[in-house]
């Protein structure tokens, strides 16, 4: 692993994490000894293509990986404490003030049956013990902070009555509501139009700076990474290929795969560049390495 070490004692430290989907005699490894560190107040990008396991790391950190997925080795240290073996009750206590999530799809991540106001207020009441009026007032404040217009009206509305960009703002407000130390942002702008994406990215960055939270920013988009992340981890086949400062990764990538990804990204400012698909030989090599890893680490299966 390369790159400058994190500035402080990491707030999140994923150590040699192994995770596999098991069931009906099949055993599919998803994460193969992934490790990464996030310092306080750092925005850490986690980049990879589909199947790289990036979303699964985010879910494992929050303890909400789907049921057939099993952590078969390694640890996730949140503020020095391993959260992979927490009971459900302990995990719940960690949410809200400890960790939060900005989900991928704003259209489906708000409960269609409840008003926006109630969905913001319920976290405040659960984790900060606020009473109904106080939570309502704080929800209004939060909507103001995420630049929702006419927030009084929005509080009384149902999710289907507001636009996708507005819903993502509401979800950002919920994520930051209890001032968590770590937020997992799981492809938070993938479902949005590009003009809305820019506003939402700006908003996430501003809230992060204001609250001093760390963010694990999961994305497939190198452009977004380059604009918002301090450090980046590149993931393929559940393995970390390289980690480092964003500038170093984007401008002087060390791993062939990172270089190939950058070469495969279309850019409107360089129309002359031919897009170079990730070479098949490289993909084959990476897959072979992953299989070799499985063979060598059979004990985790």
């Amino acid at each position: 692993m390369t790159g400058a070490p994190p500035r402080d004692r990491p707030i999140l430290s994923v150590r040699d994490l192994h995770l596999a989907i098991a069931g009906r005699g099949r055993h599919t490894p998803i994460l193969r000894g992934a490790s990464l560190d996030i310092a306080p107040s750092e925005v850490h990008g986690l980049v990879g293509e589909s199947g790289a396991g990036k979303t699964m790391i985010g879910k494992a950190v929050l303890g909400i990986q789907p049921s057939p997925a099993r952590i078969s080795g390694g640890s996730v240290l949140f503020e020095g404490r391993d959260v992979t073996h927490l009971s459900e009750r302990e995990r719940r206590a960690l949410m809200g003030r400890g960790m939060g999530l900005i989900p991928q799809d704003p259209m489906t991540s708000l409960n269609p049956a409840h008003r926006i106001g109630a969905q913001i207020a319920d976290v405040l009441r659960l984790h900060l013990g606020m009473d109904r009026p106080a939570a309502g007032a704080r929800a209004l404040e939060l909507l103001n902070e995420v630049h929702v217009r006419a927030p009084e009206r929005v509080l009384r509305q149902y999710p289907h009555e507001i636009s996708g960009g507005m819903r993502q703002r509401v979800l950002i407000a919920i994520a930051f509501a209890c001032r968590p130390r770590l937020i997992v942002a799981d492809e938070p702008t993938t479902a949005l139009d590009v003009t809305v994406q820019r506003q939402v990215l700006a908003l996430i960055k501003r809230m992060q700076a204001q609250e001093g939270a760390s963010i694990l920013f999961v994305t497939h988009d190198l452009g977004v990474v380059a604009k918002i992340c301090d450090r980046v981890t590149v993931l393929h086949g559940g393995r970390v290929l390289e980690t480092g400062e964003t500038r170093r990764i984007v401008e002087a990538p060390e791993h062939d795969y990172t270089r190939a990804l950058i070469a495969a990204t279309p850019r409107h400012d360089r129309p002359g560049d031919l897009l170079r698909p990730v070479p098949e030989a490289l993909t084959a090599r990476l897959n072979a390495e992953a299989l070799a890893y499985d063979a060598a680490h059979g004990s985790h299966g």
Partner: protein, 526 residues
């Protein structure tokens, strides 16, 4: 554009029934999807169509291959109008224009094997006499899209996303069409599959001489594939031209915003911070279609043009406000004449109560005494001009602000002038009133943004009306100005300078204000 044209659309409109608003008896009301699209594709040409969700780009693609029947306009394929051909008459022509769909999962019949899917068009159009011949062609097509013949034995669900999209391409080129419409064909794919598909598309285009209409939300992808590009917003083409020109200097504000929003993979920590504070919030913009507009000074000049353009763009209702409605003939049933003198503040309050459904307020009324400051009546002139241009606008904004808020935010368009920015000798008092109105507009914008109201300042140069006589040429067409203002409303743009002259001056002001001021000061009407 090349001398020959393969596909040409002129004034293409599309309305589809809106089932969410269907009454219990009778048909669903139509909703307008495309508002008069013009485009032309030459053989071997590539046109990119770019837009965000709801822009109508997918509907456009489907209309061009006649999956939808256009409601109006012409659609010429190889010189023949196919807009209203019946499906039976169209069928023999279909081999020449094919489509690749966005979602290869849904566009391949899950119960057919890949070889059957690719062979189907060959059998249907008699391109393969025997089974063996079809199989030979299918294998060649699969190889063409970099798949192995063995893939033909599989079912779609046994393939990866990228492979499925290759099958979609193979099927589309099976009949050797002259035009292919590709609708968001890489949007569901990983970066590496995307690059492969785009490379394949380039190759095929080169080898087969295909004309390609490439629909995408991603400007970067379009740039790598296409020679020309069309930018769509709310069912309209806001800008169209050579990629090189448009990407280098986009003219339409929406194109600019779209380009600025793309995060390129260059490290730029300031990029996020450069999103201005007032852009952090939800974009303020509204559809002109179905809006309820109020236009002051609606009986002449730009006001009249606004009414016409609003009707054309599907406004639900227009209050045409003027001092006196005597002798005014409404051009359409949707236009309601309204007697309103903007210097009569009591009447403005009444009007705000009467017109409780307004969502778009167009403050167009203005006066220009056309006299220099040295004139004997300068004080009275200045007061008259201020009364209409400043106080009238202010009072309208004040009274209608709550109305707009109650209707969900809406928009205010204040018709100002280039002379709000720079003074012109001989009409100094007018320029002063317009400058005050600009400052007022900024104040209104800041205050009403919180309730979701967009406030647009329109600052054209001279307009071809009686009032603009004294201004420097060239003269702008009032309808162009009105359209530009409504484009700004739909794009959420705040200050616009419609016309070549106005745009030039605003760029000049940004570069060197003093020089422009000097140039204007030296200008004397001839």
């Amino acid at each position: 554009m090349a001398e020959s044209v393969l596909l040409e659309a002129a004034g293409l409109r599309l309305s589809l029934p809106d089932y969410s608003r269907k009454p219990p008896f009778g048909p669903a009301p139509p909703v307008d999807i495309l508002h008069g699209i013009d485009l032309a594709i030459a053989p071997g040409d590539t046109l990119g169509v770019v837009g965000e969700s709801g822009s109508g780009k997918t509907s456009l693609g489907r209309t061009l291959v006649r999956l939808h029947r256009p409601t109006a306009g012409r659609l010429l394929f190889d010189g023949r109008d196919i807009a209203n051909l019946t499906e039976e008459r169209l069928r023999p022509l279909r081999a020449q224009f094919q489509m690749i769909f966005q979602d290869p999962q849904s566009s391949l019949n899950p119960r057919r094997r890949v070889a059957d899917i690719v062979a189907q068009p060959l059998h249907l159009h008699g391109r393969a006499a025997t089974r063996a011949e079809a199989r030979r062609q299918v294998d060649a097509l699969l190889e063409r899209v970099a798949l192995r013949p063995a893939h033909g034995e599989r079912y779609p669900h046994e393939l990866s996303g990228g492979e499925r999209q290759r099958i979609g391409i193979a099927r589309a080129i099976a009949l050797r069409p002259r035009l292919v419409v590709a609708d968001e064909i890489v949007s569901g794919l990983d970066m590496s599959s995307q690059a492969q598909i785009l490379a394949l598309l380039r190759e095929l285009r080169r080898d087969l001489g295909l004309a390609l209409l490439f629909i995408s939300h991603d400007l970067s992808v379009v740039r790598t594939v296409c020679d020309r590009v069309m930018v769509m917003l709310n069912g309209r083409a806001v800008e169209q031209g050579e990629c090189a020109a448009i990407f280098a200097s986009p003219r339409h504000p929406y194109t600019r915003r779209l380009l600025n929003a793309i995060p390129l993979p260059d490290v730029d920590p300031g990029w996020v911070a450069r999103t201005a504070d007032n852009q952090l919030g939800e974009e303020l913009s509204m559809n002109v279609k179905d809006s309820v507009a109020l236009v002051t000074g609606a009986n002449r000049g730009v006001g009249e043009a606004f009414v016409r353009v609003l009707l054309d763009r599907g406004a639900a209702k227009i209050y045409a406000a003027m001092r006196s409605t005597d002798g005014y003939e409404a051009p359409d049933g949707r236009v309601r004449p309204l007697a309103l003198d903007v210097t009569d503040h009591g009447r403005i309050a009444e009007a705000a109560a009467e017109c409780g459904d307004v969502t778009l307020l167009i403050n167009n009324a203005g006066v220009n005494r056309n006299r220099p400051i040295s004139d004997d009546d300068a004080l009275r002139n200045a007061r008259d001009e201020m009364e209409v241009n400043y106080f009238g606008t202010m009072e309208m904004c004040r009274r209608f602000g709550p109305v707009l808020a109650a209707n969900g935010g809406g928009a205010i368009v204040n018709m100002l002038s280039l002379l709000s920015r720079v003074n012109l000798p001989m009409i100094g008092t007018y320029c002063g009133s317009k400058a005050a109105a600009l400052s007022l507009t900024q104040g209104v914008r800041a205050e009403l943004a919180a309730q979701g109201t967009l406030t647009v300042a329109v600052m054209p140069g001279a307009i071809n009306t009686r009032m603009g006589d004294m201004n420097p040429p060239p003269l702008e067409d009032p309808a162009d100005v009105a359209n530009a203002a409504l484009d700004a409303v739909e794009a959420g743009e705040e200050d616009i300078y419609p016309g070549v002259m106005a745009e030039g001056v605003s760029q000049g002001l940004a570069a060197d204000a003093k020089a422009v001021e000097k140039e204007f000061a030296a200008y004397l009407p001839g």
